[in-house]
Symmetry: none
Subunit: 407 residues, 2 copies
């Protein structure tokens, strides 16, 4: 009875001379699915609301983002493997290079990514061991120069400002309270900033980097503070077991905060060089063990941000070849959904609210006349226009595991 | 980057022998727009909810009418130029003719419109100067026999009944409180009714009218009490500047209460004799200065209320000829929307909830196969079925000034 939702991040577009990467891509397998299934367009949040990948994935998993989304911090922290708990304050973190005399807030940011440092494990270990705060803290490495920080304790607030000035040539910013209740949290953050700086500045690894002419990773810049919401787990909410197959921290984070198992197969990278086949194999295995499996592909979004029409088209074609394997799934037993979390038009280079195409395959769907999986055909299908929050409910209904509301 | 929303009031219909005024009208320019844009149908409030022009215009401007609509009074008062403030109690007012002995509530209404009197300026001035109440009041002339009244002060309530009996041959009604808190307000209204009657009865203008055999305008009838809501201005809500081009008090009122600038060009009348060209020229000028411009045409609604199939069709054809000028708008920069606020089918003679056609023109829309602007074609378009509250969000997304929700 499993549901497999394939989310092709930022898949859909606005037309460029009447064409989109998806509409011109040669996609016999996706088109076959359009023919086999019921098609439509979907506003993952609501018409005209530009979705983030985090808010839209919450919606696709049946969680109202207006209720549960509290900022990127907790999701990124969960995505790098921190077990974030309700009430925790989480931040996105960059290793950075600062210069100047005095304390951390007297210094100027000269590289927001510390030369795109990769090997931060030892530095993080040193911070864990040597920084002492009045509350518990957790810090975990992300990809490259990225990390995530969590503050845990009574009386903390997320109503505080970033310490990341977001521009080089500017001084590191003091954390400020945005409400009276947050004054103590801001103090703790500033204490952390100074102590982490001292530990990093004096770390032998930075002496070595200096010798090699590399920028020192001597500061942490914090942004996107958010409090971890009280969010019911997927199992509590639906009585179902969830797996999320992804390599991108943000998507892994969404899966984690709702209590799903995260699967990142060998070779899955979260970018255009990902091993598509490995991810599809992982999905086929996962539907043997889980009730709902979300399989995420990131590269289409990246190529949309890069405004790369040809690249996006080619990735879609490559994806289509691998997706043929999903045609073997038994849709008498399973429900297979192909869709996106939002549009990332190459014309815009950013997420937009243009609805995404969606096709639902199951033996019992009312098939329609759509024969091509594209922005220009999907809206003619039998689903008309739905919302992200509806999708899982529709699938669970098709599988006859939805409960009746009323008598 | 402006958005121009053309609202053709009550435009759409239910079929009469399979036809509607819009579907049989010769509208080459509207049809051209259907071809150029993305089409759909729209429930301005929600499916099956019959919209007023006030509630639907609130929704079209992005304001939830279920949250912000508190009755017609405040909107009409704003529409005639009173600067209504949150907490004010506003009424729609008719000049009327009453006869009989005793006080105002002993008298009988013999003409609810005082012979459709037009020149009420002096009478209103006399009321302003001579009626004294325990609270501040403002009164302003509307069109013809109409006016608007606002009571301003602490402790006022709108939970009171009308004094307009709404039928001739009936006595003027005492205002009654519908809740305990409203007793004092009802007293003030009744005091106003009596004092206004005395001022009018003794006004030399009424002596003159009597001599000429005209019905005296010797009473004011109040209805539609509503409290002015706390409503964020359009600029606060969207950070954008709004202009509303209209001649109808109700529409001007909606524009006013959200802080928009109201433009009523010379020759714009709010009825079938309006100078369509002048309004379209005003709209083209306004999009140079404002971010969002709503251009309203009233006559289609009036002709729907009059059950005048031919008249409605002809007005639509006349409108279409002028609308050709809007085809010159640069849709790479601007977003042009043609729609209605509700249906006013000639078959019904009243507003109905039948969805309205909508077309959105912008260089980046996913164009569809709709080639005619009509009730029978619009639903086949790429927008499918949207709601009034979505419309502005969709336009702001197209213009890339929407903010992302999430990361």
């Amino acid at each position: 009875m499993p549901v497999l939702i394939v989310v092709i991040d930022g898949l859909s577009d606005r037309p460029v001379n009447g064409k989109t990467p998806l509409s011109v891509a040669n996609t016999p397998n996706l088109d076959k699915m359009a023919e086999m299934g019921i098609n439509g367009i979907m506003d993952t949040i609501a018409p005209g609301i530009r979705p983030g990948s985090d808010t839209s994935h919450l919606a696709l998993l049946g969680y109202d983002p207006f209720k549960y989304y509290t900022g990127r911090g907790p999701i990124e922290a969960a995505g790098v493997g921190i077990e974030v708990k309700p009430g925790d304050i989480a931040f996105r973190v960059n290793f950075a290079t600062v210069e100047g005399e005095g304390g951390i807030f007297d210094k100027t940011v000269v590289d927001r990514r510390a030369g795109r440092i990769q090997d931060t494990e030892e530095l993080i270990k040193a911070i864990r061991e040597n920084v002492k705060l009045p509350v518990e803290f957790l810090i975990e490495k992300g990809t490259g120069h990225r990390a995530a920080l969590v503050l845990r304790g009574e009386g903390l607030s997320h109503e505080i400002t970033d310490t990341d000035p977001k521009e080089v040539g500017k001084k590191v910013k003091q954390c400020k309270a945005l409400s009276e209740d947050a004054a103590w949290t801001a103090e703790i953050v500033n204490e952390f900033m100074q102590k982490a700086h001292e530990v990093l500045e004096n770390h032998p690894m930075n002496a070595e980097r200096e010798k090699k002419g590399l920028p020192k990773a001597n500061a942490l810049l914090l942004r996107g503070a958010g409090v971890m919401p009280h969010i019911p787990s997927f199992e509590e909410k639906f009585g179902l077991k969830l797996a999320v197959i992804a390599a991108t921290a943000l998507i892994k984070g969404v899966g984690s905060i709702v209590g799903g198992d995260i699967i990142t197969p060998e070779g899955a990278t979260g970018n255009r060089n990902t091993d598509i086949g490995a991810k599809i194999r992982a999905a086929k295995e996962a539907i043997e063990k889980y009730d709902v499996v979300l399989l995420h592909f990131k590269a289409t979004d990246e190529l949309g941000h890069d405004k790369d029409f040809e690249g996006k088209k080619e990735f879609i074609e490559r994806l289509d070849r691998h997706i043929s394997e999903l045609l073997g799934i038994n849709i008498a037993k399973n429900c297979l959904i192909i869709t996106a979390d939002h549009s990332t038009p190459v014309k815009v280079g950013e997420h937009t609210a243009d609805p995404v195409p969606v096709v639902i395959l199951h033996e019992d769907v009312r098939t329609d006349e759509v024969r091509k999986f594209s922005e220009f055909e999907a809206y003619k299908g039998g689903l008309c226009r739905i919302r992200g929050m509806d999708l899982l409910n529709i699938a669970l209904d098709l599988l006859n595991i939805a409960k009746k509301f009323g008598a």
